[in-house]
């Protein structure tokens, strides 16, 4: 793989940063909404600390969970958002009539989302630490695999939703944004998944992020995160990435075969 291979990847990243530079409103989803979430949940955690009689500290549990879930959401929305820019600007024909390959395109989406998600993460960490005293030393080195699992699953969901929009048309955009909210009840962001009905627990165990939030609560309660659950969560996340790439490639081929891709610009007008 030579440097030439990465030029189209850089093109995808560069285009989004031109857009960010040219439109301040595009910075809002990068850090503004997550910052608002941190402030909101920071105060909720503080309030619960003040009214709780047990002396339990809600900050690392609630605020930490919100921060990690927002990071996951940012990654997923980051991937989908870069893809949607091409839908909105009716750019598919220009893009896919170029030598750009699908792996290069997906790498470009992921690279862009990585940068924007890291910016969001830094903003959240600074706010949570400075305003609400959240110390990430509580989680120790476990924070690294936690973030990695969230990142990988966010990427896989992002790629899946891109495939969905490519397959169903531009109006399917509205199915993209609520995806993290839809999965949140299953993955136990704020509660152990053991309190869920069996079928929901089953779904939860299939989703890698469940293992992150279960692990987070284990650490807060003074326990150790079982290595097996981290490996399972990581393994599932990798599997979903591979499945998402396969799914996108399949949808793309279908779009090329049936003419969806060639007509996508025209469909964007409707």
């Amino acid at each position: 793989m030579t440097a030439t291979y990465f030029r189209p990847v850089i093109a995808i990243v560069l285009r989004y940063f031109y857009l960010l530079r040219g439109t301040p409103a595009r910075w809002m989803p990068v850090f503004a909404w997550v910052a608002i979430d941190i402030v909101l949940w920071g105060f909720i955690s503080k309030y619960l600390n003040s009214v709780g009689a047990s002396g339990f500290n809600f900050v690392p549990t609630l605020l930490g969970a919100v921060l990690l879930f927002d990071f996951f959401t940012r990654v997923m929305h980051g991937v989908a958002g870069v893809f949607l820019e091409d839908v909105w600007s009716r750019n598919f024909l220009n893009l896919f009539a170029s030598p750009l390959t699908i792996p290069q395109f997906l790498l470009g989406l992921v690279a862009t989302s990585t940068v924007t998600s890291l910016i969001g993460l830094i903003v959240m960490l600074v706010l949570a630490t400075a305003l609400f005293g959240l110390s990430f030393f509580v989680y120790g080195l476990m924070l690294v695999p936690f973030l990695l699992i969230l990142f990988l699953f966010g990427v896989s969901l992002g790629i899946c939703t891109c495939a969905m929009v490519l397959r169903l048309g531009p109006s399917a955009e509205w199915l993209v944004w609520p995806v993290p909210a839809v999965i949140s009840p299953f993955v136990g962001v704020f509660y152990p998944i053991s309190i869920l009905p069996h079928w929901m627990q089953f779904v939860g165990r299939l989703l890698p992020v469940s293992y992150v939030f279960e692990g987070l609560r284990k650490i807060i309660s003074g326990g150790a995160v079982p290595a097996a659950s981290l490996i399972l969560g990581g393994g599932l996340a990798v599997m979903y990435i591979l499945l998402a790439c396969w799914f996108f490639k399949r949808v793309f081929r279908h779009a090329v075969r049936t003419g969806i891709l060639a007509r996508y610009s025209a469909e964007s007008l409707s």
Binding site: P8, A11, L14, E85, F96, S98, P99
Partner: protein, 252 residues
């Protein structure tokens, strides 16, 4: 080094595409040589854009082959598309990027070496200096067409596909665009496949035309001599006659 003007840039063989029962392109074959401008004419729904889409790799043919500079599009999509470029009225460049930004992004997509110099040269050649840092969305139709053509030339393509490049342009701007494309072909840099409904334009710039109707090539030849050869006063009359022709005659 002298350009070989007999070199085949685009070779299309038995290309076919159907959408369900409707055959959009029906086993067409043609070639475009270096330095040649070939006009692809036909009524709406004749299969012109379907043909262009297949050559651009965004639509998979049911059968047949497409070779760009000898490279098979199906087997080496990225390589073949790296030697192709296009401009079409229905594929404007992102309006939220400036002229320079768009050219930079597409230059990277096409893996252009010495990109900064190439962008400067194109900005100069297409008279875009004062729009360098202007967002494409606010440019006039003529200016946007010039930017689209600059993008289409960014990789110094062997094959240039133009789908109604002068539609919606005033006569002065259209003439200017035709001159630039003619210049591209005459220089021997590549071959051009051009679709348009403007018969004056066809006679002005095309070396050869293909009349497409019902997905088939009905007629082929020199646009300056074709009307006489078919006892029609003008190319437009010939176009109308071919477009109305039921599928009785194929490729004369």
């Amino acid at each position: 080094m002298a350009m070989d003007l007999t070199e085949t840039i685009l070779s299309v063989r038995d290309l076919r595409k159907a959408y369900g029962d409707k055959i959009a392109v029906d086993r067409i074959s043609f070639e475009v040589s270096r330095g040649q401008i070939v006009g692809l004419l036909g009524p709406n729904g004749a299969g012109k854009t379907t043909t262009i889409s297949m050559i651009l790799g965004v639509l998979q043919p049911d059968s047949g082959s497409i070779r760009v500079e000898g490279m098979d599009l199906a087997a080496g999509r990225a390589q073949a598309l790296g030697r192709t470029n296009f401009a079409a009225v229905y594929a404007p460049l992102p309006g939220n990027l400036t002229v320079r930004q768009n050219l930079r992004v597409f230059g990277l997509l096409y893996g252009v070496n010495g990109l900064a110099e190439r962008i400067n040269a194109l900005i100069g050649r297409f008279d875009l200096e004062k729009f360098r840092n202007v967002k494409c969305g606010v440019l006039s139709s003529g200016e946007q067409t010039r930017v689209a053509l600059a993008k289409a030339m960014i990789n110094q393509p062997g094959l240039l596909l133009l789908d109604e490049p002068t539609a919606s342009l005033d006569p002065v701007a259209a003439r200017e665009i035709r001159a630039r494309i003619r210049q591209f072909a005459v220089s021997g840099a590549g071959g051009v496949l051009w679709t348009t409904h403007n018969m004056v334009e066809v006679q002005d710039v095309c070396d050869r035309v293909l009349f497409l109707s019902h997905g088939k090539i009905m007629l082929e030849g020199d646009p300056k001599t074709l009307p006489d050869e078919h006892s029609q006063p003008t190319l437009e009359d010939l176009f109308v006659a071919v477009a109305r022709e039921p599928l009785t005659q194929e490729r004369t």
